[in-house]
Symmetry: C2
Subunit: 449 residues, 2 copies
């Protein structure tokens, strides 16, 4: 890893060249580099934590002056219990994942002695733009090396001292490995993001990890493909046959277990037939948890009549905008719909195509819902918060994508891969194939993988 | 299919809504629609050919005035021998392909009663911009319907009458099918491309089929992902151990079998050790076929000394720009390189990442070459012109992609698919999983597909 003072263009070009070497390294060489990084970081704990303490001090001052939120200060702290150990363990976890490079996913005998193979290969150069959490740099460097991709990292400025310290350690560890030093580069100079976003000749994929605003800005500022999601406006459709207990559990978990997460529910669509039966206990449980309910008139009327002990002033009136808003807080918009078809239309129109859920006892309805909803995740009778790479068993994730091409939903190492087609022949030429006399035909026999 | 007079935004919105219905149709319903289109076109041959004749008449006049090339006029003609029959057969060929929708590509038991599935699903709305060949509209409509994608088609203006006639027939055929009429829309009004390219809220993927200039313009004018390639600058590396006969066959086929194709070779890199042994017979065979050879000094010197019967004036001096040019004609740039490493660097720097080939008797060198070259196709001892969806056995192709994400190389129906994650649960919530006491753990058991 180099801590680069190069121009963005030179840094990106160097990364591209390094990516060609990295792509050819065997599994062992990439894993060895991760082992080296792990042990070098272990040996340099003191100096990295000292650098982190300097970041923290500045951040605390900025927080005192009201220039920085306390939650950012808290995320900066590498000395927090377990954080350092988790960072180091994460490197070894990535090392132990199955190698995503070089997997043969298609094999066809085109003709005698002429064989086609589709082989997974790294994408090339990733640009990863992330916010202040300093441990992310080790995580991302590991993912890039494991997947055979070069990476340019641009982290939040509040962690600069920590990033620089970590990057120096990673850099000297890589010196002793087969991974080229310029394969992983940290860019610390400010205001380079627009220049980097312009380098589509060198950079193949941008992965922003951060706020909606960051993602939206990046998506609108580059020709390079961007992997990620801006919004997570997830909905649950409550059908009248579901067990009230199950519905309460799932809605409460979806809304309250981590309201700031992209996979938390924001809109509850209630079948009219469930308004007076299943909605009231759900609302009651949510109110107990401190959730603000923004209700349309039908759902408010039902709740007001069924929950007389709650002062109706607790129930807020939803405005149209509530059904297009990712609240990211303990706020839930509630709307009554005549049928599942209306719920599907509402979600496809107002949702962010991230994760949506149906609560029903009918498998037929559930299957129709899951086929009809145009989202990365379509769940039946489970929390929207299950949308997560770790929970899916992917080991790690680089983010959750609402893109419609390449990778959708939680993206693990597989999402950092593309493929190439290899053909091994023996002088075969196209002019000999065709429909005329004496022409050959392709055999196109699938070969088992 | 509707022949739309709607604004681009209304057309795209209608396509999006239709895509949600189309995505849920079973295989049979999509196949039946293709059968209906096939038979309706068969019954309307006379009126379509009459419309085509009107296009042809206008085009011939334009050609006489020098406003249109004769090759475009020739491509317009649907009455040419076999063309009509091929168009109709193409619809049935697509119908017979395996259904790409609903394939389960991952199945994991997350926990008892909690199962994750990754299921292939259509991308959504495709915008396909193509040039004048009128039969393409039937081909693209078939691919879109088969893959469950809605499509907006914008064809070259020279075929307008043919397109309108075909689209009316397809439209009335779809009326009797379950495919919504607005799933396939033809836009004929001019100058709508910039507006369509702006509709990233409705359109999920743009597929340009046409000239480099068209593709380049589209790539630089939209936030919507674009699938395709601008350039096809393919190279062959000639290593000294290859059999001269094999090398002659492959290079001649790669250069001369269809010089205007994107998969034709443009640059021949010659290992110095092969300059006086294998290059001369190749050059001789190419010269016989009328190929202009643009040689660097080393290759020119070798050929001049070895082919004294050819006046050295036949051999042209290469300029730097020749190694960055897709000639698309009977012109080949030739350059000597000391070793394969130089060839690899040259190709990764100057090539277009489309298709590149090594000619060698050494499988070790071939494997290194194929791993190191960053291209969609990496071939050993076979013609670059093998890079083709039909030859690969994909049945059909929507184009050849040099993208680094989603789909690379010849793109068949699979390239028009994405996936969604379905989870079927029984009230499972995330708060119950974790490391604390009494917390559950995910099982993450792979289930066979």
């Amino acid at each position: 890893m180099s801590l680069t003072n190069a121009t963005p263009a030179d840094a990106a070009k160097a990364a591209k060249l390094a990516s060609h070497t990295l792509a050819t390294l065997p599994t062992l060489a990439r894993n060895d580099a991760l082992t080296a990084i792990h042990s070098a970081l272990g040996q340099s704990k003191d100096e990295i934590l000292a650098a982190n303490a300097r970041d923290l001090e500045l951040a605390k001052k900025a927080a005192e002056n009201g220039e920085l939120s306390l939650s950012i200060v808290s995320r900066l702290d590498l000395g927090k219990k377990g954080k350092w150990e988790d960072m180091l363990k994460g490197i070894l976890d990535v090392r132990e994942l199955e190698d995503p490079v070089g997997k043969v996913t298609l094999r066809t005998k085109l003709d005698d002695g002429l064989n086609l193979e589709r082989v997974s290969s790294p994408i090339g150069v990733l640009l990863i733009i992330f916010e202040a959490r300093p441990e992310v740099i080790a995580n991302i460097a590991s993912l890039a090396i494991k997947s055979g991709n070069a990476a340019i990292l641009k982290g939040g400025k509040e962690s600069t001292e920590s990033f620089v310290a970590i990057s120096k350690v990673i850099s000297s560890a890589l010196e002793k490995s087969q991974v080229p030093n310029t394969a992983i580069q940290l860019v610390t100079t400010r205001d380079v993001i627009p220049q980097l976003l312009d380098l589509d000749q060198y950079i193949d994929l941008v992965i922003p990890r951060g706020s909606n605003e960051l993602v939206r800005y990046i998506k609108s500022s580059t020709k390079i493909p961007v992997l990620g999601h801006a919004d997570g406006l997830c909905s649950i459709y409550l059908e009248h046959t579901v067990s009230p207990d199950l519905a309460v559990r799932v809605v409460v978990d979806s809304k309250t277990s981590y309201p700031a997460a992209c996979n938390s529910v924001e809109t509850l669509l209630v079948e009219e037939a469930a308004l007076e039966t299943i909605l009231p206990p759900i609302a009651e449980a949510l109110l107990v948890k401190g959730v603000s309910l923004r209700c349309d008139s039908a759902s408010k009327a039902a709740l007001t009549s069924k929950l007389p002990t709650h002062n109706s002033t607790i129930l807020q009136d939803a405005e149209e905008i509530d059904f297009d808003t990712e609240h990211l807080s303990l706020t839930l918009a509630i709307k009554a719909v005549p049928s599942m078809a209306d719920a599907i239309s509402h979600i496809n129109l107002h949702g962010s195509h991230h994760t949506d859920c149906i609560l029903t006892s009918s498998s037929a309805l559930a299957e129709t819902f899951m086929s009809s909803i145009d989202s990365a995740g379509v769940f039946w009778n489970t929390s929207t918060r299950m949308a997560d790479g770790m929970r899916f068993g992917f080991g790690t994730e680089v983010g959750i994508s609402t893109n419609k091409i390449h990778a959708r939903g939680p993206v693990g190492l597989e999402g950092l891969m593309i493929y190439k087609y290899k053909i091994r022949g023996a002088g075969h030429i196209t002019a000999e194939y065709g429909e005329g006399e004496g022409q050959r035909s392709f055999k196109h026999e699938k070969i088992d993988l």
